[in-house]
């Protein structure tokens, strides 16, 4: 399916995303009309089954969607990322009632979801969550603060992770209009400025048992990993789009920009930068779509393949954006060139859905384990 959709995605981005991305960045806001268009297009429900209002696309097509959008606007792609995180976690672990209530709304863009995991004192160290669900008769009371939550400014529902006394990590759905929910926008980020980040306060929010997602005790081992997995697929492919954008900008500029009587692309040092960028793009594409295929085939190695794709592609995007600015020189430092925004956005890719260092820690443990098994056969 993926090849048949690529042109559609490119056309949508060229018409509705790329021309506006710089303005959204300056405004630190994506207009509601654009979010509505995203919903109408069905792109936010790309991977959800049709019975829940989604498109039922395979993951490779979802990857191509993120790649196309990533070249146009990382901030808008972030909305697609987060909707996949919330909806796929809910699809796997939600009750039928939760799925019937929320998934069609999310798939059609009528309600935006937010994945409320990170806290002021718990970014990479998820075991340090302090948000608490306390039993209160048959129900629960939620207290805590979440920070750096993408889409929270315009979200209608939050998938919140906390700890339930004596039961361990727990997840629950909290509507934005629930009494005790307060959203405090975070502005002046260096990038992803339209992605609607916010700090979200939960003060004595009543949580009925029917709002728990998955069983208490399994929120960090089973619920969050499904969401983060789709977040990493989306982010890796979005970073691939950004990387491709840097590459295309750079080769076009190198072919036309003159330095004395030579084209910039005739200079060996510029060719070196472009050679690395183009090779990185090809390698990143292979990793990203290899991960998508593994997920489409529901293979256990999809998780580590996705980690590798996100790890490699986000770092390659940072290198490419830096080199793209370097190749353009002063004009690449000005916001009239997409390279300036690429440069700022690329760094965020190394932070979200697990930092580069967290990826290295997990992948390093996996690889060292493989070596041990080779050295000490059973």
């Amino acid at each position: 399916m993926v090849d048949g959709r690529r042109e559609e995605f490119r056309t949508f981005v060229a018409r509705h995303v790329a021309p506006c991305a710089a303005q959204w960045d300056r405004d630190q806001r994506i207009p509601d009309s654009v979010l509505g268009l995203l919903g109408d297009s069905g792109y936010v429900g790309a991977t959800l089954p049709r019975e829940y209002g989604g498109q039922g696309w395979d993951v490779a097509t979802f990857g191509a969607l993120n790649e196309a959008f990533g070249k146009g606007s990382s901030a808008l792609t972030g909305v697609i990322t987060v909707q996949a995180m919330v909806s796929m976690a809910l699809l796997k672990w939600g009750t039928e009632e939760q799925k019937r209530t929320w998934l069609p709304q999310i798939a059609q863009g009528k309600t935006i979801g937010a994945f409320a995991l990170t806290e002021p004192g718990a970014g990479s160290a998820l075991r340090s969550l302090t948000t608490e669900l306390a039993p209160n008769g048959e129900s629960f009371v939620l207290n805590g603060v979440k920070r750096w939550i993408s889409c929270a400014q315009f979200a209608g529902v939050f998938l919140v992770f906390g700890s339930l006394r004596d039961k361990g990590p727990a997840a629950c759905l909290v509507p934005r209009d629930a009494p005790g929910v307060r959203v405090e926008p975070i502005t002046d980020l260096m990038a992803f400025r339209g992605a609607g980040l916010a700090q979200v306060h939960f003060d004595n929010v009543a949580i009925p048992p029917a709002s728990l997602v998955g069983k208490p005790g399994f929120a960090l081992s089973h619920v969050a990993p499904v969401g983060l997995h789709y977040g990493r697929i989306s982010t890796a492919c979005s970073a691939l789009g950004l990387l491709q954008g840097c590459f295309e900008e750079s080769i076009a500029y190198a072919a036309t920009r003159r330095v004395d009587d030579r084209a910039l692309g005739d200079l060996g040092m510029i060719r070196s930068l472009i050679a690395r960028m183009g090779t990185d793009a090809a390698a990143a594409s292979a990793l990203c779509y290899g991960a998508c295929q593994a997920e489409d085939e529901h293979r256990p190695d999809a998780y580590e393949r996705t980690l590798m794709a996100k790890y490699f592609t986000s770092r390659a995007a940072v290198r490419a954006a830096s080199d793209a600015v370097q190749i353009r020189g002063a004009s690449g430092c000005h916001e009239s060139s997409p390279t300036a925004r690429y440069y700022r956005d690329a760094k965020i890719m190394e932070i979200i859905e697990g930092t580069t260092q967290i990826h290295e820690d997990i992948l390093g443990k996996i690889f060292v384990g493989q070596a041990r098994r080779v050295a000490v056969p059973a």
Binding site: G214, H229, R299, L307, R373
Partner: protein
Amino acid sequence: MTATETQTVQAGDQVRATIRQFITSAISLPNLDDEADLFASGIVNSLFAVQLMTFIEKTFAIEVGMDDLDMENFKSVNATAAFVMRKDGRRGG
């Protein structure tokens, strides 16, 4: 032992061997006891729980749902094999 019981035991042994092979391919513990608590021992990485779930879903064509979230179902090779046998009635559980 009846023929049916014998078939059930053989199917259980096969399920256990398949699960054991996956687990020993995922963790670096060559002499893994079938009763060893995988999660208490700290030998698994943070992805192992979802990878094990994905493996048994794909290999045995069963779906792990919210009601199945119980560490007793996945804590060891034997526990996981018993869970698969219970979940998939065709195997005689």
